[in-house]
Symmetry: C3
Subunit: 245 residues, 3 copies
């Protein structure tokens, strides 16, 4: 029995994990999908990265969770990298599911291609609350390439604007790299073979992000960035494979 | 219901699409597989790229086809890129199936590795009619790697020499890039994960060609460059996935 | 009916092939899995690369095997490259299964990333008999990423220390490249899509190693470096696909 804590990405909230959690529980595991501070609908979006991290640390400590397999999706990779530095003794393995693995001192913003940087800056400036939203055509083609239009439309309606500050905050990753290079915390990278949320090649997820982990377990599955909606059962099975000892 | 127009690659003619068209029709779609001018057996091979393009534009206009999903395979990618500039109002989406996406002013020839350039020039010079043929070992190993010898042999017998001029013609792609970058025409790239007709890596199809499309939908399937023969049903299913709204 | 000779990689011996050989025989083929000199448990580890090669040449000659499809896994790629130079008339095709294809004059050591070079040198120096062993965490995460812990543990117990000298011997590959570039010997590359024994990207198996073969047949399958243990039936099927005419 494994205790999974699943951290969503930008524009999402914890409710997106429900079908995945159901499948993990059916297989005898415990799983939690907390919502990061400043995420979800009808909440204060004025948060920085430290507050985002703090909200997940608080969740883990208040539930007194231990021996955790801690998974981050996309932006969630930056959260789990910081959470493990706060509570290393509670975590046994990290899973980066098409997630950012930042070099020390970098921000997520530093790791996306220039056309995304331009879009994000423009949207943040135009917003009333320093947030960015993903245009539907990008969602439909680059994030939900494996979905039909109906699923893409329905799931787009569940998204909410993403606070910009946590995207541009530069993060201290010193202790993170000590923890994983020493072997104290094991790492897995879960890659969707059709995930084009980052464009394949020079700016792609894999092996650009995965290689930063050093020794790690690579697990792959078919599908795009949002198999959480198009194939939650398949995702849960791959999370189990990525998370086992 | 979608109207597909399917454009074959070098050495092929439109008859190769028959099983794919059958499957698309069984799924309620309309599909056409015209033969490009100068292609097929017992025809005049003395054509340039403009004549090739014109033959497909004529086909579309004479059948008065609209809201087309226009697919090009391999060399066919250079044809659909030019066709859409002639009749943009008739096309809603382009699918490049392991197809060339040329930079403005380039030829297909500019986009193949030096050893192919050398072979093509030599064969054209040695031919009586400025055509190039694919040697059987290249067909069997690099194009039909997922086939047994019998299928490779049978399908090789269906090929015909390829006019060289359309391969070396340099193409104006200005309007093509305006159409896709403005979002007026949507794009998909369909990639066979074992397609080695272009050698993987520096000279490979994906992401070298796909990345030139900017925002696009990536769809992948197992198999080599000629799944049209080894897995026409699977190909048809992926064409539907790549072509849907 | 094909005659397969299957050459294991580092830390292994020929017994690892047993389930694969059983499946090949069930499909009407002949298959042999000899053990390379200096490999396996309780043998003299004081061998160089020439002795390793000689032991396989002797096996082939003593069994008078002809029309062989000769497969090498990992380090075994360096063996089959040298064996085919000794008995080219007995071999019709080479299969490199996530195997090293050395440039002329190089050693295997020249083709692994610096962190592996450092580990190998350190282990060889610390050993009593100039051998290197693979630490269990590397085996479990990078070699057996598709296995459960029990399978990883059981199969690790079957490994034995690898002689260091054959890893650092620089090899004459002149005749090898003449044989494959002339088309006298056909080549296939079999790649596991989750094989991270070499880290994906700059130092990866494919297309770095496969591209050195020039014209070859690419076959891929899911799984890591040790599908010989996690999926021997699937491996046998892909060996048949890679090895057929």
């Amino acid at each position: 029995m494994t205790t999974f804590v699943l951290i969503h990405g930008s524009w999402h909230d914890g409710a997106a994990w429900e079908p995945v959690i159901g499948h993990l529980e059916d297989n005898g595991h415990q799983a939690y999908g907390p919502t990061i501070a400043g995420h979800g609908k009808d909440v204060d979006k004025n948060v920085d990265h430290a507050q985002c991290t703090r909200s997940i640390v608080d969740f883990i400590e208040s539930h007194d969770l231990n021996d955790i397999v801690l998974l981050g999706h996309s932006f969630g990779g930056t959260i789990i990298s910081r959470v493990v530095q706060a509570v290393p003794e509670r975590v046994k393995r990290l899973i980066f599911w098409n997630a950012f693995v930042l070099n020390d001192g970098e921000s997520l913003f530093d790791n996306v291609p220039p056309h995304y940087q331009g879009l994000f800056e423009q949207f943040a400036k135009e917003s009333a609350d320093n947030t960015v939203m993903l245009p539907f055509p990008v969602w439909r083609e680059a994030f939900m390439n494996d979905a039909d239009l109906e699923t893409a439309t329905e799931t787009y309606a569940r998204l909410s604007p993403e606070p910009f500050q946590p995207i541009i905050d530069k993060l201290d990753m010193t202790q993170f790299y000590e923890l994983i290079q020493s072997g104290k915390i094991a790492c897995s990278y879960l890659n969707g073979t059709e995930d084009t949320a980052l464009p394949p090649g020079e700016w792609g997820w894999h092996p650009r992000m995965s290689s930063r982990l050093g020794l790690h377990r690579l697990v792959q599955m078919p599908g795009g960035h949002e198999v959480i909606f198009t194939n939650p059962t398949g995702l849960a099975e791959k999370i189990i494979e990525a998370g086992r000892d």
